[in-house]
């Protein structure tokens, strides 16, 4: 049962082959069995979870079920869920109980889905390996010596180890797609503004976007149907007509123009990963797609630009943690200033502090034009590259990450090496474009993800493009040995 698609889970529930309570209990049992070693979940609350499952069963019995009613979904611990401890992977919020629901959480509640628990993540979503979490690293289910990627590492491991039917994540520079690549499943970062950021703990507000992490494109489409939509409580939420993201799943690929950016296949890309990506592109040719050579000439500037903009916005967003209204407060201090300084020194981990300091520096008096303004100008150049590219093609493809999952500890002490993990994903965040990663094969037994990038609001087509591939390949069905 655990390898079923969301549609199949829904059918089992509709036919009363299994109740939501039984389905949920099956996953809770799996979590109990695997979580002590994998560490994918930070907070579990079986009573709350099963109470939701009971409500879902009543709704199914009443004949008013929605597509995901009764299905257990793992929620990244960045989303506030009323009454649930919500930590964002930080000591700062170790005991914080969210007083309200994030928009994403209330959308799943309205759907009748079951909140299975809160998943582990890099502290405040800052990291690409889940090693910055205050609650400890997460094991990659494909190889316990390796990282699952990050920042949505707990959700990634939970999907890969089939500890949930599907999960949510957030992606500021690649935090859905890079773990999807490293753990071998399908993840989608939507167009900026499509999913409300209300109640999603802020990292870099102009880049943060929530999205689905699941086994297949079809599952991601069903999840996005629930997650996307206008919300007036997020000032950057886009007010546009509601779409059905499953509508193009069966589209034909004949004549589809796939652009391959030269810059994504050059220096820095692991040779074995490149082979897997080339094989996937060959499969798309067989499906009738046309391959177009394109260039994104400013893409090598993505990382420098990101490491100005994201820390600058983070330093501002994280100034709210002062030990006064909520969050960690130092046990001993002399005066108010000392209380701020000690509470923040104790509550934040090393990587979060580094980013706050970088952000504070680039925004400090005299440096604004040289750093923040300059970065915003280059951000436009990067976005314009995509505008030009999409005149020549419909979809862009390339690798999601430069390598497969690396060993825990390998890059933990070298922030710059860690930042290069997101070399292929950051540009879409800067441009505000949608991007996804789908399983495309293996290199030395470790999963490799193919990245699919689309134009603004082109999620339905991207999902169709991914689904067509998943109809003729079975990489997305693979799970680590011993898991199924």
């Amino acid at each position: 049962m655990i390898n079923s698609s969301l549609k199949q889970f829904g059918q089992m529930l509709a036919k009363k082959e299994i109740s939501s309570v039984e389905m949920t209990q099956t996953f809770l049992n799996r979590i109990q069995q695997y979580n002590p070693s994998i560490n994918a979940f930070i907070t579990l609350d079986a009573d709350k979870t099963l109470a939701q499952a009971k409500l879902a069963d009543a709704r199914i019995a009443a004949g008013t079920a929605a597509p995901l009613t009764g299905i257990p979904i793992a929620q990244k611990d960045i989303f506030c869920a009323k009454g649930w401890r919500t930590t964002c992977g930080s000591k700062m919020l170790e005991t914080f109980k969210a007083p309200y629901d994030a928009h994403v959480i209330s959308q799943f509640d309205a759907e009748g889905a079951v909140n299975l628990g809160k998943t582990n993540m890099d502290e405040f979503a800052m990291g690409s390996s889940n090693e910055t979490s205050f609650f400890g690293g997460v094991k990659n289910p494909w190889d316990f010596d390796r990282v699952p990627g990050g920042s949505s590492g707990g959700s990634a491991a939970a999907v890969a180890a089939r500890l949930c039917a599907a999960a949510t994540g957030t992606d500021t520079g690649g935090s859905i797609r890079q773990p999807a690549s490293l753990c071998g499943f399908t993840g989608l970062k939507p167009t900026y503004g499509l999913v409300s950021r209300y109640g999603m703990i802020a990292f870099a507000s102009s880049l943060d976007q929530a999205g689905p992490m699941a086994k297949s494109a079809e599952d991601c489409a069903l999840m996005l149907d629930v997650m996307a939509g206008f919300d007036e409580r997020d000032s950057t939420s886009l007010n546009r007509p509601k779409e059905l993201y499953t509508r193009d799943l069966n589209m034909a690929l004949k004549g589809l123009r796939i652009g391959l950016p030269r810059e994504y296949f050059s220096e820095g890309l692991d040779a074995n990963v490149a082979k897997v990506i080339e094989a996937a592109i060959a499969e798309y040719k067989k499906l009738g797609a046309e391959i177009v050579d394109i260039s994104l000439p400013n893409s090598q500037l993505s990382i420098p630009v990101y490491y100005v903009l994201a820390p600058a916005e983070a330093s501002s967003n994280l100034s709210r943690y002062d030990g006064v209204r909520y969050g960690h407060r130092a046990a001993q201090y002399d005066d108010l200033m000392d209380m701020y300084m000690k509470s923040r020194a104790e509550g934040f981990g090393a990587e979060v502090k580094r980013r706050i300091l970088i952000g504070t520096y680039v925004l400090s008096a005299g440096y604004y034009d040289a750093y923040y303004l300059k970065a915003q100008q280059i951000r436009r150049l990067i976005a314009d590259d995509f505008v030009q590219a999409f005149k020549k093609c419909d979809i862009i493809m390339g690798p999601t990450a430069p390598s497969t999952a690396f060993k825990a500890g390998e890059k933990a002490d070298d922030p710059v090496a860690m930042y290069l993990q997101d070399v292929y994903t950051i540009a879409t965040n800067l441009a505000g474009l949608p991007g996804m990663s789908i399983p495309a094969g293996f290199s030395n037994g470790l999963p490799v993800g193919l990245q699919i990038m689309g134009n603004y609001f082109d999620e339905a087509r991207m999902l169709g493009v991914a689904h067509a591939y998943q109809q003729v390949t079975d990489w997305h069905q693979k799970a680590p040995e011993g898991i199924l």
């Binding site: 007083p99 990382i303 969050g327 502090k353 400090s364 300059k374 915003q376 436009r380 603004y456």
Partner: protein, 95 residues
């Protein structure tokens, strides 16, 4: 632009994060590496390019000036480190 230890301490103070001598030294090395990465931007000519803050050209929405929140003082203060009589407690700031 090369950073020195005084810069690190100044930035940490601006960010309200206490930092000791050993941490400041370690931070100096890591931050210098990151700033080295960022410096690549300076080679790009950006004269006349409009800065981009949002991918969609949207304007801030306005709403009617009406109360939308209800009083949830007790619930919200249940997360506070120290409260008394509905107020947040902090060290004395006025003598």
């Amino acid at each position: 632009m090369a950073l020195n230890i005084t810069d690190i301490k100044r930035i940490a103070h601006l960010a309200r994060i206490e930092i000791n001598e050993a941490e400041a030294q370690a931070t100096l090395i890591k931050l210098s590496g990151i700033l080295g990465l960022i410096e690549q931007m300076q080679a790009v000519n950006t004269t006349g390019i409009t800065p981009m803050s949002h991918s969609q050209d949207v304007v801030q929405r306005l709403r009617d000036d009406v109360i939308t929140e209800i009083n949830q003082r007790e619930l919200l203060q249940s997360n506070a480190p120290a409260v008394a009589d509905g107020l947040y407690l902090v060290p004395k700031v006025i003598e």
